[in-house]
């Protein structure tokens, strides 16, 4: 069975980088450029992991997490929140909204590997 991961970020670079990393970790990856599209992609789908950015058009990452947790299928899906050092105050908000882990931007793909492996363990 193949694990599916969803990557939500408005930066193509970050999407690609995270996706490539996840693919190497054995995930099948779908991606979305903003929270709204991410929510659509996640709805009704079984996901092993969601990685989302905070600052995106249409719907930000925090709102996305809240919406996701309200969906029956994604109450417990691990969600990794990407923030910058500037948005530190957001971490608590993200945790309250239901984020499982976070990665501070900028980050190296190795960081994604470490976090994902920790979540999977």
């Amino acid at each position: 069975m193949s694990k599916v991961a969803l990557v939500v970020d408005d930066s193509m670079i970050i999407r690609k980088m995270v996706s490539q990393t996840l693919v190497k970790l054995g995930f099948e990856v779908i991606d979305a450029p903003d929270g709204m599209a991410g929510l659509e992609a996640a709805t009704g789908k079984e996901l092993a992991l969601i990685i989302t950015d905070y600052n995106m058009p249409r719907m930000n990452g925090l709102e996305l997490i809240k919406e996701l947790r309200a969906l029956p299928g994604h109450k417990f899906t691990p969600v990794v929140f990407l923030t910058t050092e500037m948005e530190e105050r957001l971490r608590n908000e993200a945790r309250a909204a239901g984020a499982t882990a976070w990665i501070v931007k900028p980050f190296h793909p190795d960081k994604v590997v470490a976090v994902v492996q920790k979540l999977a363990a």
């Binding site: 690609k16 058009p57 931007k105 590997v113």
Partner: protein, 679 residues
């Protein structure tokens, strides 16, 4: 730690492209903001652009870009939150900041110098965050009470200022608390050259125009904590210091390379770049495609009306000739849109040469000529690697060490010269050095030891020099970590040949070597020789063709292994029966009644057996991959004047791997299609 291997270089290239898009969005957003200063949606959009660039730039370690976008982002964040209002002063920093950021991204991409005004603009941005109190969000200048005076505070930190843990910005911030900052200048003139710069040392000094009620003694308090590390001077000015609106002036630094000039130009005229528009490559490609179709259609008309000799048709022919001229010109002009100057490739070289020279302990002067020479955009990227390698080689292997040069009576400093120019529909790039030149005897010696040639063979020095392009040949006495990266001249040659170009060299022992790259202007059109095999026509790229002739029966030698060979002036050339390769039954099978077309690629000669040579012309290359699928031994297809499809032979892949008979069966069906069906 992990075995995860991510193609960071590929992502970096993607980052640069994405950054360009963000910069455009940023710039457009700023212009929108001019008209609607309160539009928070636009502010959010601009913020995201800066935010995205910052996030990704940090991942790639582009510190300068990260720092600058961080400053931008901080100001935009305040703007978004409403704790800072959009003002004319802010606009005056924002607009040049786009150019600076663009310059920084370009500097990171091409390894050139950063725009000199970057630090100044960044300070100006930071000043907005630190000096504007939350309460003063109006666009009016901060009210200054009576009794205020204008002073210039010169802040002159000592070299060890930062290494002792002090932050120069803290001083500027403190000063800002004393009143209104009306001007700020950074003096960067004493910043040393990059290679001797110690980043922990402080080389900047500041000149702050302050409108304040404080006394000199009160201002001096700011420096109490750092008095042994920072000199200062307070001067009263009679007339008010310059208005804030004009504060952004180029920093007093010498103008750097091209990127800087660009930034300066567009800063003067923001929003209206000098007569250029951004067009996607796809649009240009489509246009070129269409023009190619017109060229073909035009050729079909000429073909259909040729040799009728009818009086009335003479006029038609004249009209056609004129159409021919105009379509050719149209084609050339559309193609020229895709052309970009080589400067973008050359731009990275000076830095590389300087680093390399200091790494190996040589003195090198790089002379670049003809960087304005234009070449197809798609080739520029693929040109970077081979060119870098040639220049690397020239520095590492070509030039002697300074002491050896002096012994030989040469100037201590070696010269590596890159020269680009157009010559007869080709672009020539020469990389030459005034170093030791190739040692013919040494190369021959090595070639014999490697078994490339027998000791008895009689070779010209050109033939001997050609051995350096053979795989597995490296004359460097020891492999240095500079050039010896497992990439030899054979790879350079292959890269160049992939671009349908050729590589040759001339050398003189003791006085230097010149490598000469000859490249077509574009890959969209190929100069080719049309040949007939049975009922089919094929095109052989002219660059590979050495000669064609009809062999005598004696020249055709039996079987060597499994393949036939042609005896050409004493050397054996493998023969490729195109009719067998392409499964064409109606072709002449006897070489002595057909023709041989001798082609060369990767240092190998091949004799292609064809029925007839039709003639030479320019052919518009249609990608098989895009329109059909990749087919071995074919580099594309073209449409002939009579509307038939002809395949273009990929000589390189033939030479790499001489194919078996019947290797290609599916294109004969494709080739019998008419142009309209194929399109």
């Amino acid at each position: 730690m992990s075995e995860i291997n991510i193609d960071m270089d590929g992502l970096l290239e993607m980052f640069f492209e994405e950054a360009e898009e963000h910069l455009t969005a940023f710039e457009n957003g700023l212009l929108e903001l001019e008209d609607a200063p309160g539009n928070l949606e636009v502010v959010a959009r601009i913020f995201r652009a800066a935010h995205s660039i910052k996030g990704a730039s940090g991942t790639f370690g582009l510190t300068e870009v990260t720092r600058f976008t961080h400053a931008l982002e901080t100001v935009l964040d305040r703007l978004r939150a409403g704790s800072l209002a959009y003002s004319r002063e802010l606009a005056q920093v924002f607009l040049p900041s786009v150019d600076v950021l663009r310059g920084l991204v370009r500097a990171a991409r091409e390894g050139t110098a950063a725009p000199p005004e970057a630090a100044q603009i960044r300070l100006a941005l930071e000043a907005f965050v630190h000096t504007v109190p939350v309460t003063t969000t109006s666009t009016e200048p901060v009210a200054v009470k009576s009794g205020a005076r204008d002073v210039i505070v010169r802040v002159l930190p000592k070299l060890e200022f930062m290494s002792r843990g002090m932050d120069p910005l803290a001083i500027l911030r403190d000063l800002a608390d004393f009143g209104e900052i009306v001007s700020r200048d950074v003096d960067a003139t004493s910043v040393p050259e990059l290679d001797v710069l110690d980043p922990e040392q402080m080389h900047l000094s500041f000149r702050i125009g302050l409108r304040t009620e404080k006394t000199d003694a009160e201002i001096a308090e700011v420096f109490a904590f750092v008095d042994d590390l920072c000199a200062f001077k307070i001067e009263e000015v009679a007339v008010p210091v310059r208005a804030a609106a004009t504060e952004i002036e180029p920093a007093p630094v010498e103008p750097g390379p091209v990127t800087v000039k660009d930034a300066a130009n567009s800063a003067k005229n923001p929003g209206a770049p000098a007569g250029t528009i951004r067009v996607s490559t796809e649009k240009v490609d489509k246009l070129l495609d269409l023009v190619s179709e017109i060229v073909i259609a035009q050729a079909m008309i000429v073909d259909a009306t040729r040799d009728r000799g009818n009086e009335a048709e003479t006029r038609l022919n004249e009209a056609l000739l004129s159409l021919d001229r105009h379509t050719r010109e149209l084609q050339e002009r559309v193609m020229s849109i895709r052309m970009v100057p080589l400067a973008s490739v050359f731009g990275r070289l000076p830095r590389m040469v300087r680093d390399l020279a200091s790494a190996v302990g040589k003195k090198v002067r790089l002379v670049v000529e003809g960087e304005g020479t234009e070449i197809d955009k798609s080739m520029v990227e693929q040109l970077s690697d081979p060119l870098t390698h040639l220049v690397r080689n020239a520095v590492d292997h070509g030039l002697e060490f300074p002491e050896d040069r002096i012994k030989k009576g040469k100037p201590e400093e070696g010269i590596v010269r890159i020269r680009a120019f157009h010559q007869g529909g080709n672009v020539i790039i020469e990389v030459s050095d005034d170093g030791k030149g190739l040692d013919t005897a040494q190369i021959r010696d090595k070639a014999e030891r490697l078994g490339f040639v027998s000791p008895e063979a009689v070779l010209t020095s050109e033939q001997i020099h050609d051995f350096i392009f053979h795989a597995g040949f490296s004359t460097a006495a020891k492999v240095t970590d500079v050039s010896g990266r497992g990439v030899g001249m054979d790879v350079v040659k292959r890269n160049v040949e992939a671009l349908k170009g050729s590589l040759s060299l001339s050398t003189q022992l003791g006085s230097g070597t010149a490598m000469r790259l000859r490249l077509p202007l574009t890959l969209a059109i190929v100069d080719g020789l049309a040949v007939r095999v049975g009922r089919q026509t094929f095109v052989v790229p002219l660059l590979s063709v050495l000669e064609s002739f009809r062999p005598s029966p004696a020249q055709v030698r039996g079987v060597l292994g499994t393949s036939e060979v042609i005896d050409m002036r004493g050397t054996s050339v493998p023969m490729v029966r195109l009719h067998e390769l392409m499964s064409e039954p109606d072709a002449e099978r006897d070489p002595s009644r057909a023709l041989l077309c001798i082609v060369e690629a990767n240092g190998t000669n091949l004799a292609l057996l064809v029925d007839d040579v039709i003639g030479q012309a320019q052919f518009v290359v249609k990608s098989l991959e895009v329109n059909y699928r990749k087919v071995n031994y074919l580099m594309g297809a073209t449409i002939l004047g009579d509307g038939r499809v002809a395949m273009i032979i990929d000589v390189q892949s033939l030479a790499r791997n001489t194919p078996r008979a019947g290797a290609i069966t599916d294109v004969s069906a494709l080739a019998s299609h008419s142009a309209s069906e194929a399109a």
